[in-house]
C-alpha cells in the first residue's frame, strides 16, 4: 500500500562548532605570557578597538631565537585565547621558524575557532609578523 520505503539516508554528522572549545576557554581563563616586556626587542600593535579587537605583542630575541614573548589584548574570548596560544607557539622558536607560523596553526592548536572568530587568529599572525618586521627594522642585519 505504501509508496515510500524505510531506506533512510546515512546520518551525516553536523559540524557546527559551539562558540568556544575547551582549549579556547582554558587560554582565555589562564592566558599564557600575558603582560609586557619592559626591554622588548620589538613591539607590534595590530587590530583596532573599533573592530572590537586590539593586540600588542612584545618579543625578546637572543641569538635569533625568541626567548621571551608577552601580549596584551583588548578583545573577545577568541582574541585573548589566540594571543595566548600564539605566544606559546612562538616561544623558543627562531625568527626563521616563527615567520612560518600561520593563523591556521593557532586555530588548530586551539581546537578550532568559530568561523566568525577566525580573524582573531589572523590578528595574532599579523602581530607576530609585525613584531618580526619591527625587530628587523631595529636590528638590521643582526638577526637571521
Amino acid at each position: 500500500m505504501l509508496r515510500t520505503n524505510l531506506n533512510l539516508g546515512a546520518e551525516r554528522q553536523m559540524s557546527r562548532l559551539h562558540p568556544y572549545s575547551d582549549k579556547v576557554m582554558d587560554h582565555f581563563t589562564n592566558p599564557r605570557n600575558m603582560g609586557e616586556i619592559a626591554d622588548a626587542d620589538a613591539v607590534a600593535d595590530v587590530g583596532n578597538p573599533a573592530c572590537g579587537d586590539m593586540m600588542r605583542l612584545y618579543i625578546k630575541v637572543e641569538d635569533g631565537k625568541i626567548v621571551d614573548v608577552k601580549f596584551k589584548t583588548f578583545g573577545c574570548g577568541a582574541a585573548i585565547a589566540a594571543s595566548s596560544m600564539l605566544t606559546e607557539i612562538v616561544k623558543g622558536k627562531t625568527i626563521a621558524e616563527a615567520e612560518k607560523i600561520t593563523n591556521r596553526q593557532v586555530i588548530d592548536a586551539l581546537g578550532g575557532l568559530p568561523p566568525v572568530k577566525h580573524h582573531c587568529s589572523v590578528m595574532a599572525e599579523e602581530a607576530l609578523a609585525n613584531a618580526i618586521k619591527d625587530y628587523r627594522l631595529k636590528h638590521q642585519g643582526s638577526g637571521s
Binding site: M1, L2, T4, N5, L6, L8, G9, E11, R12, H18
Partner: protein, 402 residues
Amino acid sequence: MIYFDHQSTTPVDPRVVEAMLPYFSGTYGNPSSHIHAQGVAAGEALDNARLSVASSIGAKPEEVIFTSGATEANNLAIKGFVEANADRGKHIIASAIEHYSVLAPLRSLQSRGFEVTYVGCDKYGMVDPVDVGKALKHDTAMITVQAANPEIGTIQRIQDIALFARKHDVYFHTDAAAASGIVPIDVDVLGVDSLTLSSHNMYGPKGVGALYLRTGNRLSCQIVGGMQESGYRSGTENLPGIVGMAKACDLAKAEASTRIELLKNLQIKLWDWLANNVEYLEFTGHPMYRIPGHVSFWVKFIEGESLLLMLNMKGIMCSSGSACSSNLRGHDEEDLAASHVLTAVGVPAEFCSGSLTVSMGKDNTEDEVDYMISALPSIIERLLAMSPLYADKLKGKDPYSK
C-alpha cells in the same frame, strides 16, 4: 470517547511531553545566547533536535528549517522560492487537491503575475505524473504536489513526479504534513527539493513544523528579523516544541512498522465492514495507495455534518476532512460545503456535503473499530429516515441516478 480524527491533530505522546519538559524551566536559554551556559545548552539541544528530524527523513541537519508549523513551512517553500529565484520563470504546477496552506500562497502568487496550472486527479484522487510532465512549460519554476491528502487519504506517486521535475530542472516541493510520522519518508528516495513536515500530526506538539530544503536551493526568508535558522526564519526558536518534534520523529522512526501494521489492520477491518454492510456508501480516495489507518466515505441521501454529530454523540470523533483547512467556528465558510478535493475526484457535489474521514492513530484499538461498527447502522438508519431525498428514492425518484 474514541478519537478517530488524527488527521486534524494527534494527542502528544507522553514520551514527547517528557522530552520537552526539561526545556521549559530547566534548560530554558535562548539558543542565540551563545555566550553563557543556558544559551549553549539550548543551542546544543537545538542541534540534537535538528539531527533527529533530519535523520528521520534521510536529510542533512543543515537542510532542516524549523518553522511554527506546516502552514508556515508551505508558505516559506512556495513564496520563499519564487522570491529568491525570480529568474526561474513565472509558471507553477500544483495538484488540484492541495491543502489551503499551499493553495493560498499560490493564489497570492497568481495575483502577482504567476500562472498556475492545477493538475487534476483520477476518481481515486491520484495525480498522474504524466499529467504533471505534460503541464511543464519552458518557464515552469516550480512543481508542488502533496505527499498525501488528509481528507481522502490518497498517497501520491511523488518519486515519479520528481523524475519529471529533475529532468527539467524544476524545483519540486511536496507537502507531507498529512503523511508525517505515518508514512516513512526519505527525501532522497522521493527526490524532492523541499518537503513540509508537521509535528502535531505525529504525536508531537502544536506550534512547530519543519521544512526540508535540499542543499543547493535558496529561499527568501518570509519572517524577517534576527536571522535564526540560517537566515531562513527569524524569531527565537521554540525550543521545547522543537525538542518535542524531534522526539516524535525518533519515535515514529523506531515504531514505524508496528504502527503501520496496526493501522493497516484497523483500516482493513473498518473498510471491509463498511463495504459489506452499508448500503449507499461510496468510498473516497484510493483503495490501495492510502494513508494507513485512513478510511473516508460518504453515504448517499445523508448529509455529512449530521452524520459527524451523531457519531460524536456516541463518543466517536471523526471529521469531514481536514480540520486544518476549515476554520469556521462561526466565521465565514461552510464547513461541509463540497470541498475542492471532493469536487476534484468527481464526487457529485450537488448531493454530497462532505465525506466522513476516519483517521485512526497508533493508540486506537480493534475494540474501538468494533464499537464504531456497532454504532453506525442505527445512526445511518435514523438519518435515512429523516432524509427527504431518501423518501423520494423509496418512491422511485433517486436523485443520484441521473
